[in-house]
């Protein structure tokens, strides 16, 4: 057992911090529902941050740390599938990577756009195809989720079948989303803490009221444990750990998204405050891989058969 960051991990995270500095806050006057940056994405690719899992001394825990770190940014980055799932399937698959459960095609697909690699995972195995314009439904302008999302019109006749265990891909998928959710939980908490520490009502900061302090403290406990469970699941590679990590993250997300918008009051209903960039990503992640119930069943199967 050794839970401190090693020197390599510290360096990777410090480097990401410095590279992502221009993207650490929301551009002035930007009231987008979703924020992306092609320049940030390109810089991450060029510096190899999405390929750390394959580096022997870095591995899956570092990949989870990278995903968690990037998810804290107000800019949405397709890192989870690329950094943790793609290496298991084919490290050369073109990004972004869109993971889709077989038989659940009606759901919004994050980062889906022409040129993206869509990976369909399920009983038929792990298959992929490159998304073309006709595979994507007309652009959704009215999504509330703070990710770029689109819908598939269907699956092509021909897909590439990958020689990889679908259960193993699903395990990595769970870990990747748990790590992404952990970063979103951390950023949403920090953002809320700043607001309620400054906003005054009844002559004092909102954060001085115990009703709010206790709920925020409970949210901190959930956020901290979501982080550790995600890292542990990455480190052990155990299917039960993966399912529990995502179950816990999805449970936490459900609760904090309500809390934080509540605490921000009217401001939490606006796009002037960036909170929604994290909470409305978290909300979509609560639906990933069938949601809490599906993770619960997967964890129960893995733990007790």
């Amino acid at each position: 057992m050794q839970l401190s960051l090693n020197e390599d991990q510290t360096q990777v995270l410090d480097f990401i911090d410095s590279l992502a500095k221009p993207y650490a806050s929301v551009p002035m006057h930007d009231v987008s529902l979703a924020l992306e940056s092609a320049e940030l994405d390109q810089a991450l690719v060029e510096n190899g941050f999405l390929d750390v899992m394959a580096v022997e001394e870095l591995g899956p825990v570092t990949a989870a740390l990278v995903i968690e770190k990037l998810a804290r940014l107000p800019f949405a980055v397709e890192s989870a599938a690329s950094a943790m799932v793609r290496p298991l399937i084919d490290p050369e698959l073109p990004r972004p990577i869109c993971l889709v459960e077989e038989g659940r095609l009606r759901k919004p697909v994050r980062f889906l756009r022409p040129g993206a690699t869509v990976v369909v995972v399920g009983p038929s195995g792990v298959r992929s195809f490159t998304a073309t314009e006709d595979a994507i439904a007309p652009a959704q302008e009215d999504t509330l989720y703070a990710y770029p999302v689109a819908f598939l019109t269907g699956l092509p006749q021909a897909m590439t079948l990958h020689e990889v265990d679908a259960a193993e891909v699903t395990r990595a998928w769970r870990v990747a989303i748990a790590a992404e959710a952990a970063g979103l939980l951390g950023a949403a908490l920090a953002s809320t803490v700043t607001y309620v520490s400054e906003r005054k009502q009844f002559g004092r900061p909102l954060a001085t009221f115990q009703g709010m302090r206790h709920r925020l403290a409970e949210d901190q406990v959930l956020t901290n444990t979501a982080y550790w469970l995600a890292l542990r699941a990455a480190g052990t590679g155990d299917p039960a750990d993966a399912a529990m990590a995502l179950l816990h993250a999805q449970e936490a997300a459900k609760r904090v998204c309500y809390d934080y918008h509540q605490f921000l009051g009217g401001m939490g209903m606006t796009l002037e405050h960036p909170l929604h960039l994290w909470t409305y990503r978290l909300k979509l992640l609560t639906a990933e891989l069938g949601g809490r119930g599906a993770q619960g069943l997967a964890a129960a199967d893995a733990l007790w058969g």
Binding site: L3, R204, R213, L216, N224, L231, T236, G296, A300
Partner: protein, 381 residues
């Protein structure tokens, strides 16, 4: 980062398990239904801890200069986990090796160390914490039990309440008021429990026989040398010892073991194929593992020689959440477990419901997290 135990740590865990198999009597599970402070378990622990000491498992994590094996915080954690899962056969003596001994070593006079450490290392002493009072629970600093220095002796008057182990303890780690300066007016006195003027009354409880008490001090007189630390130093000393105590009981491990036991009973009864039961069981398991990882993150800080601050309150609250979830799971899906069908589940429930109260209430932990982890502006007082 490495989330697996090393071979040496695994071997250490197996050594403890082998010891438990060899030294816990037949029918132990039923026997351990007695609370950790019960006369039966206390008497058992006096023999059991001697055997533990004989094989170097009573205080292996203590430094060599204290007679320990100098093993690290991870080994202390492993030892605590295995003992707690087994129903804590050390009884109240777990406190001795977790915090009483190290606190004595750090703050005690040479006379106090000579007097109290040796019986701890022989597995023969039992301490109680004279902390809470009828009007000073979570607001501990408002305690009123007074100690007055007269002619080289402290004369103590007052009352403590909800005191674990007091019925059979040899010594009380007693918080007293020596001046009206709130926290700075509190002083620790080590009081032999057979001192004239002490009256102990057991309080019937949900959490097991002999566990909690009222303790009355009427002109209890002890020499000035019984003072532990300086006058007014108590708050600093108990902050040190409570940091150890909060991590001291790895309750999440027993919660997880109880959950596994409940699942196996449900399966035997043909009740574990219902999806909602499986999902709820998984949610409980995730909360137990979540608490485990939070606790381990704090242990790592200890390994790294870093100060342990409010992270321990966060880890402790995670444990409270896990305990609550498992207690509720058992009551909802295996109500017979608390009514004679499973001594182990009953034992867990009785110990689990204490998680949010003992060693500082869960709400106090939330206050600490709010102020010291989240650094929220403080509430007006």
């Amino acid at each position: 980062m490495q989330f697996e135990w090393t071979e040496e740590q695994d071997a250490f865990r197996h050594k403890i398990r082998d010891f438990l198999i060899a030294n816990l009597p037949d029918g132990w599970e039923k026997f351990s239904e007695h609370g950790p402070a019960s006369p039966a378990l206390t008497a058992f622990a006096r023999e059991f801890c001697v055997k533990l000491a004989d094989v170097g498992l009573l205080f292996p994590h203590w430094p060599r200069e204290m007679g320990g094996e100098g093993l690290g915080p991870w080994e202390q954690q492993i030892l605590a986990e295995e003992m707690w899962i087994a129903g804590e056969p050390r009884g109240g003596q777990y406190m001795n090796v977790n915090w009483v001994g190290p606190t004595l070593e750090r703050y005690g006079t040479s006379e106090q160390k000579a007097r109290y450490l040796e019986p701890i290392t022989r597995g023969q002493s039992l301490w109680c914490q004279g902390f809470s009072e009828p009007d000073a629970g979570s607001d501990l600093a408002s305690l009123r039990t007074r100690a007055e220095l007269k002619d080289g002796n402290y004369v103590i008057n007052g009352q403590k309440i909800w005191t674990s182990y007091a019925g059979l303890a040899d010594t009380c780690f007693l918080l007293t008021r020596t001046s009206d300066d709130r926290k700075k007016g509190i002083t620790i006195i080590l009081v032999p429990m057979d001192t004239p003027g002490i009256t102990v009354r057991q309080i019937p409880s949900l959490i097991g026989e002999g566990d909690i008490h009222e303790v009355f001090f009427d002109d209890v007189t002890v020499p000035e040398s019984a003072r532990f630390g300086e006058e007014g130093q108590a708050w600093e000393i108990i902050a040190y010892s409570l940091r150890n105590e909060r991590l001291g009981i790895p309750r999440f491990t027993l919660a997880r073991a109880a959950l596994d036991r409940a699942v196996s009973m449900l399966r035997e009864a043909g009740d574990f194929d219902r999806e909602y039961v499986r999902i709820e069981a998984a949610r409980c398991a995730a909360l137990c593992e979540a608490a485990g990882t939070a606790n381990y993150a704090v242990v790592q800080r200890r390994v790294d020689g870093l100060a342990i601050g409010a992270e321990s309150s966060s880890a402790r609250y995670a444990t409270v959440m896990a305990e609550r979830a498992v207690c509720e799971f058992v009551v909802e899906f295996l109500p017979e477990g608390l009514a004679g069908a499973s001594p182990y589940l009953k034992m867990h429930h009785q110990r689990g419901i204490v998680a949010g109260v003992a060693a500082g209430s869960a709400e106090i932990q939330l206050n600490i997290i709010a102020s010291e982890v989240l650094e929220l502006p403080r509430e007006p007082r």
